[in-house]
Every structure is written in C-alpha cells, then in structure tokens.
Symmetry: C2
Subunit: 233 residues, 2 copies
C-alpha cells in the first residue's frame, strides 16, 4: 500500500536534553556532545540521531540515550518539536526534543571516548549548534515547572539522599535561596519520603539523615486525589 503519494518526506531527528545533578558542586548539568559529522563538526550539541524507518520517536530517543548511558529505562519525556526551514544548515531536518533525567554517574564507557560527551553546568553552557540553545532553554523551563508538580527531582538524586541535597537541587535549578524550615515542612508533609537510619557524613560533622522516595506511596496517594506540590518560595 503506497498512499499519500506526492507528499514530501522529511528527515526527522530526536534530540535528547540530558539532565543530571552534581551533588558536590550543587549544579544542574547537561550532557553535551562534540559533534562528529559535518556540518558544524567539532561544535557542541545535545545528543541526537535520526529516526529510523522501523522505530517510533520514543524508541529513537531511547536508542540515543542507551548509546550514551547504557541504560534501558530512565525518566524520559517528549518536550517539543522544532521544524523551521533552516534550523539545520545541512538539510531540512525536523527535530523532536526529549528531556531525560539521569543520575550523574550513569554514563556508558563509550560516552566520553567515542562521543566526546561532557557534563556542563547549565550556568556555563557553551554556544550550541543550530537551535539547540533554544531546545535547552525550553527543556529547562519545562523542568522548572515540572519539578514543582511532579516528583521528578528524585530522578536526579541517588536512591538515598538528604533533605539538604534535595533542597540544594531546587536551589540550583531556581538559582535562589529557599527557606530550609518551610522546604522541609512541605516535603515531609507529603508523606512520600522514608527516613533511613543512616547518615551522610561526608559533608558535615553532625551528618544529615538519608531519606528515600517511596514511589509506591506516591502512586497510592495520587490515585486518591493527592497532588505533589513543592512550590519554592
């Protein structure tokens, strides 16, 4: 069956904006790739790839991400689609952007070597090719909204994390200080964290208690009309 004859076909790419959080440096980072093909070879870009004939958009994004992280499953969501005529000087390419949230250690051995992948703070991004700067800005804006209403911050932290680390993450994303007592009051009131009986002792003498996000409890609450809300003051 060969329908829709006469309609133009297009190159379609997926571009993945990969976010992680660096606990030590208290910075949100983005995985950037040194581009290996023309045009713009050697310039910085986000990770991308063309959508193949036999794969869905989501599958294409997963493939690109697996190449860099080795991970099969991760927090991945479609953001926006970019289709201006001359966004890529090499050819007319329509690009679907995806946001991925991962733990900073999750990089494949190939990532640094083969793909020249590097983590860069969102505060000090180099110039990016094409409209990747816009994609990143859009994705970041989206993440800032998402993290208020969905428990996505935990995707960027290890399984065990302290409330200090969680707050630092929010502060890094919003670039403004957050009231410690109010922040803890809000997140603990949601009743979706479990306090472990273990302390993080690297960064202070006293040590800070570890917590864990209980996804199952969150899901049960959600089914009963609960809404995650961590509006930062």
């Amino acid at each position: 069956m060969k329908l829709y004859k006469g309609s133009h076909k297009h190159l379609v790419a997926v571009d993945c904006i990969i976010f992680a959080y660096d606990i030590a440096e208290k910075e949100i980072k983005l995985l950037l790739i040194k581009r290996s093909i023309e045009p713009a070879k050697g310039k910085w870009s986000v990770a991308g790839g063309f959508v193949q004939d036999d794969e869905s958009l989501d599958a294409a994004a997963s493939r690109v991400l697996k190449r860099l992280t080795g991970l099969d499953h991760m927090h991945l969501s479609q953001s926006s689609t970019y289709g201006s005529l001359n966004r890529d000087p090499g050819a007319r390419v329509i690009s679907v952007s995806y946001s991925a949230l991962i733990k900073i250690q999750d990089l494949s051995p190939d990532a640094a070597g083969l793909y020249h992948a590097h983590w860069r703070s969102i505060l000090k991004l180099p110039e990016l090719i094409f409209d990747h700067g816009t994609m990143v800005a859009d994705a970041l804006e989206n993440l800032r909204e998402q993290i208020k209403r969905k428990p996505v911050g935990f995707e960027l932290l290890p399984e065990k994390f302290t409330l200090v680390q969680l707050q630092d993450l929010y502060e890094a994303l919003y670039q403004r200080p957050v009231d410690k007592r109010n922040f803890r009051k809000k997140i603990l009131a949601m009743n979706i964290l479990e306090k472990l009986d273990e302390k993080e002792k690297e960064t202070s003498r006293k040590g800070a208690w570890y917590y864990r996000f209980i996804r199952e409890r969150y899901q049960v609450l959600t089914r009963n009309g609960f809404y995650f809300n961590l509006d930062v003051n």
Copy 2:
C-alpha cells in the same frame, strides 16, 4: 549540499485540534472533518495536512487552519508529536499536533461544504480515526491546565462577554459547578477586565454587564511579575 545520506525520510503531518465555545449551549466544541481520502475515508478526524518541503511546522498548521477558518492569525500552540509505527495504516506518518482556540463563528464558507466540517461537543465525540482520540484527549487536558494559568479563555469568547459567560466556559471545561462569588472576586481582582457600559440582554431580563479583556494591561502586569491564576474550586 546533500548531507545525512542514508538516513530515512518520513511523511510528517500536522493535525489541528480546533476548539471553540458555544455560549448558547454552554459547550466546548471541536471542529471535526469528514475525511475525504483513503484510508478511513468518510470517518471523523481532526483537520490535518502534510508538511510541505518549503514550510515550517507552524506554517503548515496555519495553512490548515486558514483553509477552514479563513483566519491568518489565531491562538495556536504546538501540543505533542505522535510517531508510533502503525498509527496511520496508510503509511508511516509522524504527526505534530496543534491546538487552536477560535470563536465559533469563524468558519470559512468552504469549511462546511468542501471539508464537511462540523462542530461537536467534547462530551459527545464520535470515534475518531487513528490516534486522533488520544490527540484530542491530550490537547483537552492541556487546555484545562493552560486556562488556569494563562488568559486563553478569552480566545474562545467574543470581544465583549459577560462574567456569567466566562464562568460558564470554565464550568463547561471542568464539568463541575464553580462558586459565582469567588470566581468573580478572583477574575476581577486581577484587574485585566474592563467593564463596558452595555448589557447583554438576550438571556435575562436584568441583563448582565459586558466586559472586555485588556490584553495590554495583562502584558504590562506580566512584565512586573504578575501571574494569571484562575484555579477553579
């Protein structure tokens, strides 16, 4: 210049979910088209078209919308992109969905005749082709969120409208009653409406005052940190 050789090309479509509000019937309506080509000829769908070689995605959506409404400018925003392998049985098509908000009277003469376009209440939608049902559900969900935080409700109403009409619109979208006094208190407190000295007299003896949305004032306020918020209780 012929780069990216060997990568597959795809048919790319735009599909427009066109919303309007029927004041008399107090119903949110969707513009549906009787499909004129195979596959699924004669079935209901949203308005769509293939993206041409020389037009951006936004331009393609605008073209589709102009065909039906004759309008050059309207509230139009990209929603989501759909790319499963078999979403269209006719061929592999990747589809970018757009939401449009228009006034119900804005239909081109061709719309009804040539395209068999019909307004249908979102409460009584027929079965739609392919994944158009999902597209509509996603767009509707998006609209419900948008209308809380952005002054998009006014796009669905005439220039002059009453507070009763505005509230009815919110109630139609949420399918639940809204407290009249609290609703009016909130919207008027924003100071973005101007009370006209004219009454709407069709629907009641007493008549309801007409108001007008002052976009300029909204924009000024927005620049000064104001956020539209009409969370319905």
